[in-house]
Structures are given as structure tokens and as C-alpha cells.
């Protein structure tokens, strides 16, 4: 008997057995269903988090380096205190970097400040992030314009009274009016709107990228009398060159900030990869915890399957005897019960996928981008069948090893 017909025969027998005990089979699968629902929900959630996170941080650009006084991730308080005492990154230093660094797509200084009270006529809006920068920001910042234009080099250098606003600000302050050419008021300063950014959404459902206003950096320092440490954004342009540029940048910064050899850096070169790897750690912890729970429920489900398979083998001892008496080999009997266990679990897996689909549909009301992918379906069915094969093995082995006389005598 070849393996193909053994499997089709096994499927047929398990179909008959399943149909014969439909209620019992369905009840048996409850544990497996719970386990598989957990697996699929976990996998779907992780997949969603991953893409959502990558979408979210795409505004940082994968090939953009951020030279900053602080590191993005600070693992202890001491370090935080030390970093707060570091010297500011000044505009003079920014210029030195611009001059010293060759072969990159763009270098832009940036300072940020939250502002309340943006006004146009009798309308106003608040909670806005104001970014002071220069003409290079359109290259490094990853935003594009919906209308109007960005500031020119000359305008940035001359520190003109102009601004480029995010889509939300345009909507709130202007409604149906054309914003381009109008002057808005921010803390006594009047700025002409020369461009409007394309809508970008928000970062992980939090900070809106459309509630930003960009102005010449010197305007921020002088006009608003506010002079924080700069962040220098450097768009490398070619992902392969990132490490080389990083090294060059580090040497340059050390020279600019006159660090003697042996002294540690008093600045940081950040990159979105750092966020990705940090997020990777978090999602690994979530995955580990999730799969532990999943494993536990599958284990319980598997015990249930093993139990019901032992019952099934005991009930059908006579049948096993008959099959052996007319020529079934041990392997054939083993396979028959393995397939039966796998089929029960497959049934559970299919039910579970149905349930998960329903749950995902519900979740979609709140998170429109959630979707169950085919790879998750395949994973779920594989795990289900695997659980069936593992938990069915002992009962199937017992059935296979029965001596024909002993099996036949039992009634």
C-alpha cells in the first residue's frame, strides 16, 4: 500500500469517524480553537504593530542621521544628567558641519518648540510644533508640499517672516479661504504662508505630523528669543554609505567641539534604525509572552486531543483488530489515527480562523489597517495540524502496536 492511498484512506476513515461523533469532535476542539485563536490574534497583532511602527517612523527617513546633544535612548538617570550638562550644538557648529561634510544629499539644522495660539483673523489653533530650519529641510525632513513652495536659501539666510504650514493648520485657520500669501500671527510675529505640506497622518496614533509649522531657524532664535540646542539632520542619500558618513561625521563633530582624544563624545548621532531595534526588543518581549500563553493553551488543547484519541482507540479496538486481521500494517493503523487527530485539530484550526476573522473585522472599526494575512492563516493551520500530530502520536502508537488477537477479543 503506497503512502498516497494510505493518506487518502486515512482521511476517509477520519472523516467517517468525525461525522459519526460530530458533537464530540467539535467539543474536543474547544481547547485547540482557543489556542489557535490566540496564535492568530497574536501574529496578526504583531504584524500590525510592525507595519504600523514602520509606517510611523518612516517620517524619520531610513537614511537620515540626526546629530543631537542627547541620545534617543537613555538607559539610566546618570547618563541623562550628564547629557543635560553637555554643551549646546550651536548654529556655528551647524555651519561647520555643512562645510566639512561632503557627498550627502542635504544638511539641515532644526530646533523645535511647541507653541500655543496661532491666529488668522478671528480663528486660532494651538498645540502646534514649530520647527526652525533652513531650505535643506525639504530634503531631510521627508515631507512634500501640497501647494505653494518651500523657503529658499536666501530667505532662510535673511530670516524672513514666512512659514510653511501643515495640512491641519491650514484646515483650521483657513477653512475655505486660500492660505497662500496670507499672514498668520504667532506670539506677536506675523508670518506669510508660502507653502502647505501634504497630509501625512500621525505617529502611532499620537503626535500629528500635520500640525507643524516650519520657519527660518534664525527667526526662531532672534524673533522668538529662544535659542535651544540644534539638531542637525543629515540625509545621506545612499543607505550603503551610512556607516562611512557616520564615521566621518563623528570625527568632524569631535574636531568642531574640540574634544581631546580619549574624551567620550558629548553628542549623539541618532538614526531611525535605533528606534527600529528598540521596537524590535519590545515586540520580541510581546511575542515571547504571547507565544508562552499560546503554547500553554495549545498544550491544554493537545492534552484534550490526546485524551479523546485514547478514548477513540479504546472504542475502536475491535475495528483495529479487524483491520489487522485482514492485512493492515502497523504503519497503516498508526497513520490512520494520526490523520484522525490532525483532522480534528484542522477542524479546530478552521473554526479558530473563522473566529479570528470575526474579531479582526470588529477591530477594524477602530484600527482600519488591521488585516489577517495569508501567512497567518498558513501558520495557524500548520500549528493546528502539528498539535494534532504530536498529541495524537501516543494513542496512535498504542493502536498500531496492538496484537491482532488481543484487539479482536475485546468487546
Amino acid at each position: 500500500m503506497n503512502i498516497g492511498s494510505e493518506i487518502s484512506e486515512g482521511l476517509r476513515i477520519s472523516w467517517e469517524a468525525l461525522r459519526g461523533n460530530l458533537m464530540r469532535s467539535v467539543l474536543t476542539t474547544v481547547g485547540i480553537v482557543i489556542g489557535i485563536v490566540t496564535v492568530t490574534l497574536m501574529a496578526t497583532a504583531l504584524e500590525y504593530l510592525n507595519t504600523a511602527f514602520r509606517d510611523a517612523i518612516s517620517f524619520l527617513g531610513t537614511d537620515v542621521l540626526y546629530v543631537d546633544r542627547n541620545e534617543w535612548f537613555i538607559d539610566n538617570n546618570n547618563k541623562f544628567d550628564r547629557m543635560q550638562r553637555r554643551e549646546k550644538i550651536t548654529m556655528a557648529q551647524v555651519r561647520a558641519v555643512e562645510e566639512g561634510l561632503s557627498g550627502v544629499s542635504g544638511v539641515a539644522p532644526s530646533v523645535m518648540q511647541g507653541v500655543e495660539g496661532l491666529r488668522y483673523g478671528d480663528r486660532s489653533t494651538g498645540g502646534v510644533l514649530m520647527i526652525g530650519t533652513n531650505e535643506q529641510f525639504i530634503i531631510t525632513g521627508g515631507a512634500s508640499l501640497a501647494s505653494g513652495r518651500f523657503m529658499t536659501k536666501a530667505e532662510a539666510a535673511a530670516n524672513r517672516d514666512l512659514c510653511i504650514i501643515g495640512a491641519d493648520i491650514a484646515d483650521k485657520l483657513f477653512e475655505k479661504e486660500e492660505p497662500l500669501g496670507k499672514r498668520i500671527t504667532v506670539a506677536d510675529q506675523r508670518l506669510e504662508v508660502i507653502g502647505i505640506f501634504e497630509k501625512r497622518g500621525s505617529v502611532l496614533g499620537g503626535m500629528s505630523l500635520d500640525n507643524q509649522i516650519v520657519i527660518p531657524i534664525q527667526k526662531m532664535n532672534r524673533g522668538f528669543k529662544w535659542d535651544p540646542s540644534c539638531v542637525i539632520q543629515i540625509k545621506v542619500g545612499d543607505t550603503a554609505r551610512i556607516p562611512a558618513v557616520r564615521d566621518e561625521l563623528r570625527g568632524l563633530m569631535r574636531k568642531i567641539r574640540r574634544l581631546p582624544p580619549g574624551r567620550e563624545d558629548d553628542f549623539a548621532i541618532n538614526q531611525s534604525e535605533a528606534l527600529v531595534s528598540q521596537f524590535g526588543k519590545v515586540s520580541a518581549i510581546i511575542a515571547a509572552a504571547g507565544f508562552f500563553i499560546t503554547g500553554l493553551s495549545l498544550f491544554v488543547g493537545g492534552i484534550g486531543i490526546m485524551n479523546i484519541m485514547f478514548v477513540s482507540v479504546a472504542e475502536r479496538t475491535q475495528e483495529i483488530g479487524v483491520r489487522k486481521a485482514i492485512g493492515a500494517r502497523n504503519r497503516t493503523v498508526l497513520l490512520q489515527f494520526l490523520i484522525e487527530a490532525a483532522a480534528i485539530c484542522l477542524l479546530g484550526g478552521i473554526i479558530a480562523i473563522g473566529i479570528t476573522r470575526g474579531l479582526v473585522e470588529v477591530a477594524r472599526v477602530y484600527l482600519p489597517k488591521v488585516a489577517m494575512s495569508w501567512s497567518v492563516v498558513v501558520l495557524a493551520l500548520t500549528v493546528a495540524v502539528g498539535t494534532g500530530l504530536i498529541s495524537g502520536f501516543l494513542p496512535a502508537w498504542r493502536a498500531a502496536r496492538m496484537r491482532p488477537v488481543d484487539a479482536l477479543r475485546k468487546d
Partner: protein, 227 residues
């Protein structure tokens, strides 16, 4: 060469420290084409002997040659193949698969023999027709009479054209009329050259055979040809 050669077959059962001697040294030879009845009182060891001959059980000691092959030398797979190809078994309680139709039941040995689907259907239908059940192929066991079930069992036993048909009290669960039908079937099979061994404790049934072996307390008490 004899089809069956049993030499000093013993079968012991250990029962909670006590040893039951079901067979105590049985030596028999049976030739191809014989029709043998095995008789004896209840508990004398008839079924034990049949199970050993049918390769469902193995002796505690003694040697058994089937078709010139020593059964003790065979592994589980060889024995399964022997049961599949060389031996057809008919039980007192029919032992059909209750969820399957007559046709499926009869097809089963062919499936295990690896016969492909079209061919085995044809062979199984012919075997059912041979036992007079051409119009019952799609019936399940619980939709048939005892006599019909036993005929399905006979069709299943014969479908792989075995060298040997073994029947342990085949008429035990049948009334005398349907019992006669089965015996008529056996007679026809014998006439066609099949080898048959039938266990019974009814003289009626035994008289159909050509040779009667009587067992008592696990030993052959007599072995005579019916005249």
C-alpha cells in the same frame, strides 16, 4: 509440501501468577484443498489454535510452517501481508466495520493490498455477487440480516484469493436455515479447490467437512477422515 505444518505447538497464558495451558503440543499437517472441521468442548483450545494458524497470535513454543515458510521468522509487516494475501478469516460475530457499506468492507483487504481504485471496485463487486449479494452492495451491516452479514464477511475473506479460509464458529450466531446457506457456500468453495478450516461444536456442521480434528484440553484427541 503441506500447506500447514504444525509441530508441537504450545500456547500458554499467564493469568495473575497462574499459567493457563491452552495448547499443550499440537502437531497437525493440512494439505491444499482440504476441508477440515475442528471440534471440541468449550475451552479446549480451538480458537487459540485457529488464531495461531491465522497468524493473529504466535505460539509460546513449537514451530509453524505456512506454505513452507517458518512463521516465527517473520516480522509484523510480513505477518500483516500473510494475513492479507494468504488467509481469509470468518468470525462468529462477523466483525464487519459498522460504519461502512458492504462494498467498502469487501474492498478493505484490496486497499491494504494496494490494488488501485477501479480494479478493486470491480473485484469486490464480483466477490459480493459470488455470495449472492449483488443487490446489497450499498447496504451497511445494520441494514442486513445475520446471514447476509456473514456472507459479506465470507466475500471479504475471499476477495484476495487466499490459499486458506479460516472460520471460527461461522454459524454460531445464525439460525439453522441461514447456517445451511453459509455451509452451502463453503461446500461450493471447497469444490472450487479452496482450503477450508472450520471450528464448530455442532456435529451437523462438522459433517460437511472431509476431515474432523477433535481437540481436548489443548491436545489433539482424534483426527479422522469423514466417510
Amino acid at each position: 509440501m503441506s500447506l500447514i505444518r504444525l509441530d508441537s505447538i504450545c500456547r500458554r497464558y499467564e493469568m495473575g501468577g497462574e499459567t493457563v495451558h491452552a495448547l499443550r503440543g499440537v502437531s497437525i499437517s493440512i494439505e491444499r484443498g482440504e476441508y477440515v472441521a475442528i471440534m471440541g468442548p468449550s475451552g479446549s483450545g480451538k480458537s487459540t489454535l485457529m488464531n495461531i494458524i491465522g497468524c493473529l497470535d504466535t505460539p509460546s513454543s513449537g514451530s509453524y510452517e505456512l506454505n513452507g515458510n517458518t512463521v516465527a521468522d517473520m516480522d509484523d509487516n510480513d505477518l500483516a501481508d500473510i494475513r492479507n494475501r494468504e488467509i481469509g478469516f470468518v468470525f462468529q460475530t462477523f466483525n464487519l466495520l459498522s460504519r461502512s457499506t458492504a462494498l467498502r468492507n469487501v474492498e478493505l483487504p484490496l486497499i491494504y493490498a494496494g490494488v488501485d481504485i477501479d480494479e478493486r471496485r470491480e473485484i469486490a463487486l464480483a466477490a459480493l455477487a459470488d455470495v449472492g449479494l449483488a443487490d446489497r452492495v450499498e447496504h451497511r451491516p445494520n441494514e442486513m440480516s445475520g446471514g447476509q452479514r456473514q456472507r459479506v464477511a465470507v466475500a471479504r475473506a475471499l476477495v484476495n484469493k487466499p490459499s486458506l479460509l479460516l472460520a471460527d464458529e461461522p454459524t454460531g450466531n445464525l439460525d439453522s436455515k441461514t447456517g445451511e446457506e453459509i455451509l452451502a457456500l463453503f461446500k461450493a468453495l471447497h469444490a472450487k479447490g479452496n482450503t477450508l478450516i472450520v471450528v464448530t461444536h455442532e456435529e451437523e456442521v462438522a459433517r460437511h467437512a472431509r476431515r474432523i480434528i477433535r481437540i481436548r484440553d489443548g491436545l489433539v484427541a482424534s483426527d479422522e477422515v469423514v466417510t
